[in-house]
């Protein structure tokens, strides 16, 4: 190793440490989280400070909630008309993204961020144990992972290895459409107009946190999502695939990294994983 290499390593170590360096508002965060832990220690269920960004409700719960929302929306509208129409659109949009039980939901979203194409593709059981496999990241270079309900797997194409570790929490139903689905079900979506993108006529539905969903006017399928970024920019994701697959043996194999890469070497993580998972 040369002196130049040694210097590079020191710079690298410095930069790595800087990524995790303390920040001015850490003390505020420390106090906030401590207050929440103290609140949780009182005789009541533990509440998380930050709402999960992705819905964890089951499809059945979502549909039930949606029915309530729809009735409430229509019922409070004295004159009918546009509000009822909006409620109907939301209802149809929700139905279009609510999967049936005992299927495999296959989704793919594609977007461009900072000039780079990013892709997220998932396959997931629509009923417990919600086994899933996903590929996310830069197009052609995404990370691949799966979870069968008790064990999670991550595939490394460079070394052709699969990292296996016990899961710490039961899998949830969390495909790329989860946030949209949950907000629709909660009645947090509003129809703000119609637009034409790529020749398709779409309903534009505004959701909390600046998220926008675009649903086809003919069949209510989700076609695009606008995902706002912290810097004020918006990344538009095209829904390239949204389909339900039957639970055939071939399709089941789509849920498993080990089935997709049968020749990969499996590396089991440390014993600490078992202790942490409690399984």
């Amino acid at each position: 190793m040369t002196r130049h290499d040694d210097s590079d390593l020191r710079l690298l170590e410095r930069d790595l440490t800087a990524l995790a360096a303390p920040r001015d508002d850490d003390e505020r965060l420390r106090r906030t989280l401590r207050d929440e832990l103290q609140a949780a220690l009182r005789p009541q269920p533990i509440r998380r400070r930050f709402p999960r960004r992705v819905a964890t409700a089951t499809a059945a719960a979502i549909v039930a909630a949606a029915a309530v929302v729809l009735v409430a929306t229509v019922g409070t509208n004295g004159s009918g008309g546009p509000a009822v129409a909006s409620a109907a659109i939301v209802h149809h949009a929700l139905a279009a993204v609510t999967p049936p039980a005992n299927q495999i939901l296959h989704t793919e979203v594609v977007g461009v961020q900072n000039g780079v194409t990013v892709v997220g593709e998932t396959w997931q059981q629509t009923s417990p144990p919600y086994a899933s496999r996903g590929i996310k990241g830069l197009a052609g270079h995404g990370s691949e992972f799966s979870d069968d309900g008790t064990t999670s797997y991550a595939y490394d194409p460079v070394t052709n290895t699969i990292d296996e570790q016990p899961d710490s929490s039961p899998p949830t139903f969390a495909d790329p459409m989860s946030q949209i689905r949950a907000e629709l079900a909660r009645g947090q979506a509003s129809v703000v107009g119609t637009v034409t993108i790529g020749g398709a006529s779409l309903y534009k539905l505004a959701l909390p946190h600046g998220v926008v969903g675009y649903f086809d006017q003919t069949d209510y399928r989700a076609r695009y999502l606008d995902d706002p970024q912290h810097d004020g920019s918006v990344v538009r994701l095209r829904v390239a695939a949204y389909e339900y697959l039957p639970m055939t043996p071939d399709n089941r194999a789509l849920l498993s990294v080990t089935a997709q890469h049968p020749r990969a070497r499996i590396v089991v993580s440390s014993a600490a994983a078992s202790a942490a998972s409690g399984k």
Binding site: D5, E13, D15, A20, G120, D163, S169, P176
Partner: protein, 190 residues
């Protein structure tokens, strides 16, 4: 190679493992005692999250989830390994879950923070973004190891205890990870 350069950047107090055992026992008897463990590990868990996740809000979310999960699960911790090993395994799983819950990974992690931070006064924003992206190219086990060392600031001896490996073995593994990262980092800087 000078992998020891930051060996004492975040020194762990002598006898801490024993102190953890006492606090864990106290927390299992009286959950309010868990707050002492929280105070002891808050900085390290937050640092761990920051090394693996770029988005500040997600780092805070992960840190919150790690401690609420640990509080919920503390009765299940049997003490077969160290509390730190158990806690950072929860952190590892929580980071993994967070990384999977967004439609596409870069949207969640590569976006710049709104406000300037001390980190960005040292590292240019673009370099930090590149470094995070390169870390994500490592295997999950490698990312975990890197975050234990440079995020949580744990010494090799403690990481070795966590992983059931000799400190020398951890050093060798870390050396390989840094070399792999350095080559990619150098290419990007060139």
């Amino acid at each position: 190679m000078n992998a020891n350069a930051l060996a004492d950047a975040h020194p762990v107090q002598a006898g801490r493992v024993d102190a953890d055992a006492e606090l864990v026992a106290a927390a299992r008897t009286n959950p309010r005692e868990f707050l002492a463990l929280y105070e002891r590990y808050f900085d390290r868990v937050l640092g761990y999250a920051r090394l693996r996740i770029r988005d500040p809000a997600t780092c805070e979310d992960v840190t919150s989830r790690v401690f609420t999960t640990a509080l919920e699960q503390i009765h299940r911790f049997r003490g077969e390994g160290s509390f730190a090993a158990w806690l950072f395994q929860i952190a590892r799983n929580t980071v993994r879950d967070a990384q999977r819950q967004r439609p596409t990974e870069p949207l969640a992690e590569d976006r710049p923070a709104t406000d300037p931070t001390p980190e960005e006064s040292v590292l240019e924003r673009e370099r930090a973004r590149h470094l995070h992206a390169l870390i994500r190219l490592l295997r999950p086990e490698q990312q975990h190891l890197l975050a234990l060392r440079y995020g949580a600031g744990l010494p090799y001896e403690e990481i070795g205890l966590m992983l059931g490996s000799a400190p020398a073995t951890v050093r060798v593994r870390m050396h390989r990870i840094l070399e792999e990262l350095r080559l990619r980092y150098s290419d990007d800087q060139a």
